[in-house]
């Protein structure tokens, strides 16, 4: 009896493991319109409103408790604020938050004026979530397939290339940030953009690197690298990607060791632009 229970238990686990491996294989081999993408899309459509409802309900409760915890300090702060409210009204336009958002929108406008992007249609999106998983560097934006956003499209904002759409649902999309370990961007730099490299993300805790640059290539600290836009590139040409922070040539190395930081301020992504441009198949 105990033996048959044990073998049934083992069989259940084996079936579940095989099923999981099959699902992973289907997911990894497919692209945009595969079964798993469709299932995720439907689930996202059902789950998103639920999640928003919970956020809408919990936000005031969270604010209430935050207010209750800091009641004393809030009261004195309130009195100070009342005294200075007139002056603050005049300076409202200089409010740090608004300035920050204005600055981000201005950066978006500057990016839109880049020769490479100005000719392409873009969709401005607001960031809903920063990183749903501890294992990937992604953001979720409030624009999806219904707005023309599809997998593979570049996302710009906050001063440069932000990343690329990796999942697109009806009204939302997931963007892989340029510093994610899975991100690789073909770039060019130097006078006449004659040199090329690949900018690799190294995860949130490490600086990005620029690889495949031969030793003694003329390159200086602070140099900006732009998307190369070669044939079959994943990004249109001329979008600022990263700035060189250090260059080091090791003896006998086949390439330069180059550390770069993203041009886009990835911690300030309230608004981004999705460039409605799809990589060549």
């Amino acid at each position: 009896m105990a033996r048959s229970r044990r073998s049934r238990r083992t069989l259940t686990v084996v079936v579940l493991v095989v099923l999981s491996l099959t699902i992973i294989s289907v997911d990894l081999t497919g692209r945009t319109h595969t079964i798993t993408s469709g299932v995720k899309s439907v689930a996202n459509g059902v789950f998103s409103p639920l999640r928003h409802a919970v956020v809408d309900v919990l936000s005031p409760i969270g604010d209430f408790f935050a207010g209750a915890v800091h009641y004393g300090s809030l009261q004195s702060e309130n009195q100070k604020l009342r005294a200075t409210v007139g002056g603050l009204r005049q300076q409202q336009a200089e409010n740090a938050f608004e300035k920050n958002q204005l600055s981000q929108l201005r950066q978006l406008m500057e990016l839109k004026n880049l020769p490479s992007i100005s000719a392409l249609p873009t969709v401005t999106a607001q960031t809903q979530e920063m990183g749903t998983s501890n294992f990937t560097n992604t953001i979720t934006i409030d624009k999806g397939r219904a707005d023309g956003v599809d997998v593979g499209m570049p996302v710009v904002g906050a001063g440069g290339l932000v990343g690329q759409v990796i999942q697109s649902f009806h009204h939302t999309a997931v963007v892989r940030l340029v510093n994610d370990g899975q991100s690789k961007v073909g770039v060019s730099f130097g006078t006449a953009q004659s040199h090329t490299a690949t900018v690799d993300g190294q995860g949130p805790v490490s600086l990005m690197t620029a690889d495949l640059v031969p030793p003694h290539t003329p390159l200086h600290q602070g140099e900006i690298m732009y998307t190369s836009g070669f044939d079959a590139a994943a990004f249109p040409p001329g979008v600022p990607v990263a700035r060189v922070t250090s260059v080091h040539t090791s003896a006998g190395a086949s390439q330069e060791t180059i550390a770069v930081t993203p041009m886009a301020n990835l911690s300030q992504l309230a608004y981004v632009d999705v460039v409605l441009w799809e990589p060549a198949a």
Binding site: V13, V26, T132
Partner: protein, 179 residues
């Protein structure tokens, strides 16, 4: 599991999924947030053994996969292995022991995150091992140790419905401490 128990477990999983993607996601220390979904297979395995732990782990992991940008099915695989392992490892342990749930939660959650990242890298997602593991393990361990008791209560409510009570009684002695 009976049909009613399955519905209850699904409700508990949905509740935790909502909590994970709203409240828990906003609790960030150094960019890392707790992962509470692993507590579902851990508590199910402690309450009803390895088979139920594996089944709950598979389905809750699959639900988790729906909202994650990681490979679809990876959460299901890890959840299934986690549920089975915790159930099998604690089958001979006195379920009334006070230390059992927090220890199982800490060890299980940390092991699950480690397995999740390593398997992810094996399946081609190299970025999954390029993270600050120390912060991740610390945050996941502490949050799991605190949250395992409320999740255990929810799972006990979900699994011990009328139809399922008989199954559990036959599988575990009344002294097992799961009541």
């Amino acid at each position: 599991m009976s049909g009613r128990a399955t519905i209850r477990v699904a409700l508990v999983a949905l509740l935790l999924l909502l909590a994970q993607s709203t409240v828990i996601l906003s609790i960030r220390i150094g960019g890392t947030h707790p992962d509470i979904l692993w507590l579902l297979p851990i508590t199910a395995a402690l309450l009803a053994g390895p088979e139920t732990g594996a089944i709950v782990g598979f389905w809750s992991g699959l639900a988790f996969d729906l909202v994650l940008p990681t490979p679809f099915g990876l959460g299901a695989l890890v959840g299934c292995i986690l549920g089975y392992s915790i159930g099998a490892a604690t089958v001979a342990v006195d379920k009334r022991a006070v230390w059992l749930k927090p220890v199982a939660a800490v060890v299980g959650s940390v092991a699950a995150d480690m397995l999740f990242s390593v398997l992810g890298a094996i399946f081609g997602q190299q970025q999954m091992v390029q993270i600050d593991f120390f912060s991740l393990f610390a945050i996941v361990a502490i949050s799991s140790a605190f949250l395992v008791l409320p999740v255990n209560r929810l799972m006990r409510w979900a699994l011990l419905v009328e139809g399922n009570r008989r199954t559990l009684v036959s599988a575990h002695s009344p002294e097992s401490g799961i009541w």
